[in-house]
Amino acid sequence: MNKKFITKFLAIFITQFFLLINFNNIAIAADNDIVLLKDFSEEMTDKVRTILTDSSISQSNREAQIKEIFFKYMDSDWITRFTLGRYWRQLSPNKFKEFKDVYSTYLANNFVDILKKFTSSEFIIDSVNKSDSPGNYKIKSRIIINSSKNVTSQSNESNTLIVEYRVINKKIISGNNKISDTEDFVIYDMIVNGISMAATQRAEIGGQLSDANNIDQIINKLDEVNKNFARRR
């Protein structure tokens, strides 16, 4: 009886000990992440700032570079799955890839359209914080619109856009299903003045999906919008 109790006690103690070590490791990793993430956000902001303010860059080149930024920093794969909800599992790998390609282009086109309006704006990173779930982070930033040069004019108070980036470190979150061995930050949502890009996309595209069979219709619609983007440029 005593032996059984001691064994049980030791088992619990050892488990707790390893759990504690593990949590400490996660905490240390997360602190390192904050430093790395600050670099990540500064690097991204600098690139955006350069592309938008460099007058020597042609308009088409600028758009191409903004698209590159989108594909480099945004996790279009996750956004695609989030948008499709349960339907992504019902699609064949080929169909999923077809949808992802056309949808990512659609998102990138929207991103270009929005970002190129801020050519004379200021981009400020305010803070980088851990989120509740391990490996999840929030970058809080502001875009200060220069109303004298931009087309949209609003009073001083509304000249600032609050942009929150939801970022993930794939190395930490993947756990058993390891996705990446190195620090690999990707943005999976952008929340502008409280409006989530992922949520809006899910409502728009997901709302159209009555079943996975009409995915072709949606691919065609997205393709049409992409062609319109190309025609307008």
Binding site: W78, R81, F82, G85, R86, Y87, W88, N109, N110, D113, I114, K117, S133, G135, N136, S147, S148, N150, V151, T152, S153, Q154, S155, N156, E157, R166, I168, I173, S174, G175, Y188, D189, I191, N193, G194, I195, S196, A198, A199, T200, R202, A203, E204, I205, G206, G207, Q208, L209, S210, I218, K221, L222, V225, N228, F229
Partner: protein, 272 residues
């Protein structure tokens, strides 16, 4: 004498119509689907989404949200199409012209002027929410901007540390956790909910009792037209982009409206 009695008759009818709307509004607020709670749960889901968890527990939301949060979708979609048509024919060209002839500096002045006009609505709603500090700020903002700021054309008060903080009766209802009711698209007014529509009617009533009597009839019409054209110009790109770049502008506008509404509720809770 006849004229007076017919005027009284008209007044009585108006009061009856007003009562009818109040009853309808209360009935809607109390008996219809508590969309506020429903939107809240979707918003929690959206903002609480976990990267690692691609097996979303709320997978069913995609199909159910469509029916539950928007029971009047069919009617709403028709009204949305009508509003879009009106926008393309009248408001869009007018706001485009306005943006061409009025430079950003001028638009900022118009913005300040229109915001100053809504001060009585903000003041009363500050009081209704028991926010005496903000009521005091709003009062002094109005006094300073109307006098020194030339009827609000120059926002002197903001520079003096009294920033503009928007308030309306919809937010007061939301503050007291009155259910939003179903999502609605109202002809000419656009996206709203039952409680927000009620809020707009009350705000209109406050304006009728405070600002409108000061204005002459033609001035009132001018201000109303200016308001529509100016705010369409402010959101010109956002609206135009969403209409042109969306595969379903109706759903996108609905999502933007609901998220914006929830965002206000969340921030209000956060401030408490």
């Amino acid at each position: 004498m006849d004229f007076k009695s017919s005027k009284e008759c008209l007044l009585t009818n108006l009061i009856t119509i007003k009562n009818f709307f109040i009853i309808i509004f209360m009935w809607f607020s109390v008996t219809m689907t508590s969309a506020n709670d429903y939107y809240g749960s979707i918003y929690d889901f959206y903002t609480g989404h976990d990267y690692a968890n691609l097996d979303f527990p709320d997978n069913e939301i995609t199909s159910s949200e469509k029916n539950n949060q928007d029971p009047l979708e069919l009617v709403n979609r028709h009204i949305f199409a009508f509003n879009l048509m009106i926008d393309q024919v009248f408001t869009h060209p007018a706001s485009e012209f306005y943006r061409v002839i009025v430079p950003p500096f001028g638009r900022d002045r118009v913005d300040s002027f229109l915001k100053n006009l809504t001060s009585p609505v903000i003041f009363i709603n500050n009081l209704l929410q028991g926010d005496l500090k903000e009521a005091n700020n709003t009062f002094w903002r109005f006094v300073v901007n109307t006098s020194i700021g030339a009827l609000g054309i120059v926002d002197v008060a903001s520079e003096a540390g009294l920033p503009y903080k928007q308030q309306d009766f919809s937010k007061t209802l939301s503050y007291y956790k009155v259910p939003a009711g179903p999502y609605l698209v109202v002809p000419l007014l656009g996206p709203t909910s039952v409680s927000d529509l009620g809020g707009k009617i009350v705000d209109f009533g406050i304006m009728q009792k405070t600002i409108t009597p000061i204005l002459k009839k033609n001035e009132k019409t001018d201000v109303d037209i200016l308001k529509v054209v100016h705010y369409r110009a402010v959101y010109f790109e956002l609206i135009s982009d969403r209409i042109n770049n969306s595969i379903d502008p109706y759903t996108t506008m609905k999502s933007l409206y609901l998220q914006n509404r929830n965002n206000f509720n969340e921030s209000k809770i956060g401030n408490e």
